[in-house]
């Protein structure tokens, strides 16, 4: 054991196994941060790119060629190459916004190649005036922007397994992304159509080959639903619904219907395939929870995480993402000793409702074993449960909406792996 048994040298420590006060870190006065070894000879040389002109301009920028490992990964079932999902490389990103090219994808029959000049959005059903909109018409309406996360209802499902899957943050939790979405409030369009008094639900249907469809409550439509046209300032990416998608902030990803073509106002749920046979949570008594809409309070540490091996003892920043479909994140606690002790992480501003919140806390790794965990609490007081508590409540077959605390084990070698703790 190389683990030091000596007590912390100062009162900077706020929890066991080396967690340092987040405020000291923020003011840049965290004690004991070691300086690197003196610069090796030649490290500060004049490099070739400093002496000849660089590349010319390009119409649409791409990441550096040195970042070619920062990509989505995923899989499709047999016979269905466009059906399935790809996942966001959470462990290789920072901040709280996902670049458009790395936003996770989930399609039920591939990504349609929709001509925006031909695409229409129909609103009908229990309305006084059914309406058809062209993209040009939609683009003339008053718009709003919302920074929100989208998380697939099936994200983190591997943590239902009996043994920890030997996977990284991307493979386990990467059906999670975030963007600034801009578009027309659904309530604006419903006002124009005139919702009948007996209306209580809506059906949203996509223009893909599966005509993916989901029902959602009228209350949500009138609250903060958006007919989104833009993603991080540019038109939606095809795999995120180009040219128009439904955005239901905080709700499970499957409901944010992409390639939105039709909204039908109804007096009850249509009971589509994806709200009955899928996205329902089977509990131990054989009954399934249906219409589980908000993604619950959750967090995950993205750095360090599997694949990001700690090379030497010393200072590291533990950083991750926290979110709640119910509102804002109130606090995130971090433990590095397997939940024996916890310390508050710093929350990166702005902390927005139903958005990803980046948290950070400094850590001095002493070279010994550690178990890294984060626990989020939202403004309504919802606390992220332990895995044992969630499984005790819903059983191991619920599959969807897995929001329990995830654990990374750090070995003396510095290797980080997915563990249960």
């Amino acid at each position: 054991m190389r683990r030091k048994q000596t007590p912390p040298p100062s009162s900077d420590y706020v929890a066991g196994n080396g967690l340092v006060d987040r405020r000291l870190f923020l003011t840049g006065t965290a004690a004991g941060v070691a300086f690197s070894a003196p610069t090796a000879a030649g490290e500060l040389a004049i490099e070739p790119w400093m002496t000849t002109p660089g590349a010319p301009f390009v119409p649409y920028g791409q990441p550096s060629r040195f970042e070619d490992k920062v990509v989505r990964v995923g899989a499709a079932p047999p016979n269905a190459p466009g059906t399935g999902a790809t996942r966001t490389p959470l462990h290789l990103l920072d901040g709280a916004i996902t670049p458009n090219g790395l936003h996770f994808e989930r399609s039920h029959s591939g990504v349609p190649d929709i001509d925006p000049a031909v695409h229409r959005l129909l609103i009908h059903g229990l309305v006084k005036r059914p309406l058809v909109f062209t993209l040009a018409a939609l683009s003339r309406y008053p718009m709003e922007s919302r920074i929100t996360f989208i998380e697939c209802g099936g994200n983190s499902a591997a943590l239902n397994q009996k043994d920890p899957a030997p996977l990284n943050a991307q493979a386990l939790h990467g059906l999670l992304s975030s963007a600034e979405w801009t578009g027309v409030k659904l309530s604006t369009l419903l006002d124009e159509a005139g919702v009948e008094p007996n209306a209580s639900w809506l059906l949203a249907e996509g223009g893909d080959a599966a005509s993916m469809s989901r029902s959602f409550p009228l209350e949500k439509a009138l609250d903060d639903a958006l007919i989104a046209l833009y993603q991080n300032g540019e038109r939606l990416r095809p795999s995120n619904g180009y040219p128009v998608r439904l955005l239901l902030p905080g709700y499970e990803g499957n409901m944010q219907v992409k390639w939105l073509r039709r909204i039908k106002v109804t007096d009850g749920p249509v009971m589509t395939k994806d709200e009955t046979s899928k996205y329902t949570l089977l509990t131990p008594d054989g009954k399934a929870l249906q219409f589980v809409f908000p993604m619950e309070t959750k967090s995950v540490i993205t750095q360090p995480s599997p694949g990001l091996t700690l090379k030497e003892r010393g200072f590291y920043e533990i950083s991750g993402l926290a979110w709640s479909g119910y509102g804002k994140i109130a606090q995130v606690e971090v433990s590095v000793d397997g939940a024996k002790s916890w310390a508050l992480a710093a929350l990166q501003e702005p902390v927005l409702p139903k958005a990803l919140t980046r948290f950070r806390i400094p850590w001095r790794w002493d070279g010994g074993p550690a178990v890294l965990q984060s626990r989020a609490t939202d403004e309504s007081g919802n606390i992220q449960p332990t895995r044992a508590a969630l499984l005790a409540k819903r059983g191991p077959k619920a599959l969807y909406h897995f929001n329990a605390i995830a654990s990374w084990g750090v070995a003396q070698s510095g290797e980080v792996t997915h563990v249960y703790a």
Binding site: A80, L122, E192, A210, R262, K287
Partner: protein
């Protein structure tokens, strides 16, 4: 001064957006009933929206063999893709649940809705309404939900009682 007033007026307009919410371009076009009918393919659990046409399990067997078997296996038992048949009694307890149309789906209308809009995967919306009714009848028959000679149509389909009809509980936060 004039410029200042204009800026101020613009700021006031933005801050009072609430009261101006009714101000919208009003440029949606009112579609014809025929246009709506052509688009509206969703089928409610009461059968609302089911088209004319009909099919029997026997007719469905032919459609299934031609259009479905490659993905859903002989008699719909699954592989390489989802199983449509079997799994009754596997939902509760410690066993691995086998969620199929017969063991899990609460409404028979959903089968029609889904098959018509999304199946077969490589040529969705290619089946006639009669073919959809027939293949629905076949899947229901394979699950023992309807008899061999049952005619499935807009009248009979909503009356089909699925085995797991009472298997769902509406979620309330905290559960």
């Amino acid at each position: 001064m004039f410029t200042h007033d204009v800026v101020l007026a613009a700021a006031l307009t933005l801050s009072s957006a609430q009261t101006l919410a009714a101000e919208s371009p009003g440029i949606g076009r009112v579609p014809t009933q025929e246009e709506i009918a052509a688009w509206d393919i969703s089928i409610g659990p009461d059968g609302a929206g089911l088209p004319t046409g009909s099919g029997t399990p026997k007719q469905g067997e032919t459609v299934f063999a031609e259009k479905c078997v490659a993905c859903h296996g002989e008699k719909g038992v699954g592989k390489p893709n989802d199983a449509l048949v079997g799994g009754r009694g596997t939902l509760a307890g410690d066993q691995t649940p086998v969620k199929t149309v017969g063991s899990y789906w609460p409404y028979a209308t959903t089968i029609f809705d889904y098959v018509r809009r999304a199946m077969p995967l490589n040529e969705s919306k290619s089946l006639t309404n009669d073919e959809v009714y027939a293949v629905v009848a076949y899947i229901l028959r394979q699950n023992g939900v309807v008899g061999e000679d049952e005619v499935i149509d807009a009248r009979s389909l909503p009356k089909v009682r699925m085995p797991n009809r009472n298997g769902f509980v509406t979620f309330a936060p905290g559960k």
